[in-house]
């Protein structure tokens, strides 16, 4: 600015003063002066324009840096938060919305309580006929059965009749007789999947499929897939406690996930351990999520398919693997198996886990040591 002032000042004086003092002027001289003055003004405005352009360009370039964009929604009766790393909020939001749409679609297909879902269609036709289903529902039931086989029935997708007896909101413990009676309806081996016709058949009337312990993990997988398809290279999908992370954060670090303390006492001990996660999923099943206590005994929602009663050898089980459709059902199955058999199975399968047993002792798979930062459960 100062430099410009110096240049302008003498010219200005020259251009102004003769107009009032010397008259008449030659037309040619006046024209020349006019042109000179004109070009000076043009130069001035071009310069001004350039400064403005520069300012706008600087402004336009600054948001190019990558940031984490976050959006939450209540779907599948739970809070889902999706984070996407992007240099553009619009791009991130579009991808996040696609991911939410994918989760909504899965919810419509597999919701146990909705009369319109494919699952309720299968359940209504138990003992009657096979029901043709979508690829997604077929895939998730297939994965559930694989988990049942691996855990030797400690996870069972046909737990529905037992689950339906309990009400953890109203704190209703079912009659022992009712629990015993329904037990004969729980058996994943009586669930027939037919690949050719893409259909499912429950052999006994009264059998019920409940995908509550796998659908959220599966939904996290599908949401991540949708985000990747929409150009997001890094993000995190948290379907309640079923979390899947991919890529790295803008600071180049992996995503950090906290594992909830199953017996939180104060505000400061909410987290019992943390671990870094990238291109991996983590799920946790705990006896503190849905429960009630009668005469000092805790009744929670993780039922042992072999007894119909809450499994009582663990407080919390977290499983870490590539897919949410693995971590979600296995965290439930391992919870039922208990710490010793649970750790053994996880190590056999070469997936990682961290278990808090019924006395509060922490067990981890050997591969996990050093990767997880344990703060303790007090």
């Amino acid at each position: 600015m100062i430099k410009k002032l110096k240049i302008l000042a003498p010219v200005r004086a020259q251009a102004d003063s003769p107009r009032r003092t010397s008259r008449p002027r030659t037309q040619a001289g006046s024209l020349r002066r006019m042109r000179r003055q004109n070009s000076k003004f043009k130069f001035f405005f071009i310069l001004l324009f350039a400064v403005c352009c520069l300012l706008l360009a600087v402004y336009g370039c600054t948001p190019r840096e990558e940031r984490i964009f976050r959006k939450s929604k209540i779907i599948m009766d739970t809070l889902i938060t999706i984070s996407a790393v992007s240099d553009s909020g619009d791009k991130a939001e579009a991808a996040i919305n696609k991911a939410f749409a994918e989760i909504e679609k899965i919810d419509r297909l597999v919701n146990f309580f909705s009369g319109k879902s494919e699952i309720s269609d299968i359940n209504k036709n138990a003992g009657k006929k096979a029901v043709a289903i979508s690829d997604e529902t077929f895939e998730v039931i297939g994965k559930a059965i694989q988990t049942s086989e691996k855990t030797n029935g400690a996870f069972d997708v046909t737990i529905g009749p037992e689950i339906s007896l309990w009400d953890f909101h109203k704190k209703i413990k079912p009659e022992d007789r009712a629990i015993k009676q329904k037990l004969q309806l729980v058996n994943y081996k009586a669930l027939m999947l037919d690949k050719n016709s893409r259909s499912v058949y429950l052999k006994k009337s009264g059998m019920l499929i409940d995908l509550g312990a796998i659908a959220k993990g599966y939904a996290a997988d599908k949401a991540v897939e949708a985000m990747k398809k929409n150009g997001i290279k890094s993000g995190l999908v948290a379907v309640a406690g079923d979390i899947k992370a991919f890529g790295l954060k803008p600071d180049g670090k992996p995503w950090k996930v906290g594992i909830r303390n199953p017996r939180q006492k104060t505000r400061d001990d909410e987290i019992m351990a943390t671990m870094e996660l990238t291109d991996m999923a983590i799920s946790t099943s705990g006896d503190y999520e849905r429960y009630f206590i009668i005469k000092g005994k805790r009744y929670h929602h993780i039922l042992d398919p072999k007894t119909g009663y809450p499994a009582d050898s663990c407080r919390s089980v977290s499983v870490i693997a590539k897919d949410g459709a693995i971590t979600d059902p296995f965290s439930t199955g391992i919870f039922v198996l208990g710490p010793e058999r649970g750790i053994k199975l996880l190590e056999e399968m070469e997936i990682d886990g961290i278990i808090v047993d019924k006395d509060g002792k922490i067990h981890t798979t050997s591969n996990l040591r050093g990767k997880v930062e344990i703060k303790g459960t007090n």
Partner: protein, 137 residues
């Protein structure tokens, strides 16, 4: 040339003033964009479905039907709160007045989002949890 007529009789100070005014107005535009990045709308969702989109600067009280009953949401003096809720623990009500982020009532499946639907992760907020991106369990 019109430009010449327009600028005839202007002094250096005039031009400097003009330049300063233009630069100030442009940077003002940038500043406003930076300082108020998103429109301040209040979006109310039930079970993930949008029920209301209301401006934060208009005082209003609305009722939405959730899965266990009606939640009463109040907007006043550019702040939002859940005034009444049928949920058992009333965590959403204890949240009190807020002008940013979200208020969630999970039992009734009600979510109130303030200031745009996509939140930018700020390193300054949520200090105790700054290092943690999500919690499992």
């Amino acid at each position: 040339m019109r430009l010449k007529e327009l600028t005839e009789g202007t002094t250096i100070a005039d031009k400097l003033l003009l330049a300063a005014l233009i630069i100030i107005s442009v940077s003002g535009f940038i500043f406003i964009k930076k300082a108020f990045p998103q429109g301040t709308d209040v979006i109310i969702e039930v079970n993930g479905k949008q029920q209301y989109k209301l401006p934060l600067n208009t005082d209003i009280t609305v009722s939405v039907k959730g899965v266990i009953g009606d939640t009463l949401i109040e907007i006043k003096n550019r702040k939002v709160r859940i005034k009444e809720s049928p949920c058992p623990n009333k965590i959403c009500i204890h949240n009190g007045w807020t002008d940013k982020g979200a208020i969630i009532c999970l039992p009734n499946r009600v979510m109130v989002n303030i200031g745009g639907s996509v939140g930018i992760d700020s390193q300054r907020e949520d200090k105790p949890r700054k290092t943690i991106d999500a919690i499992t369990g």
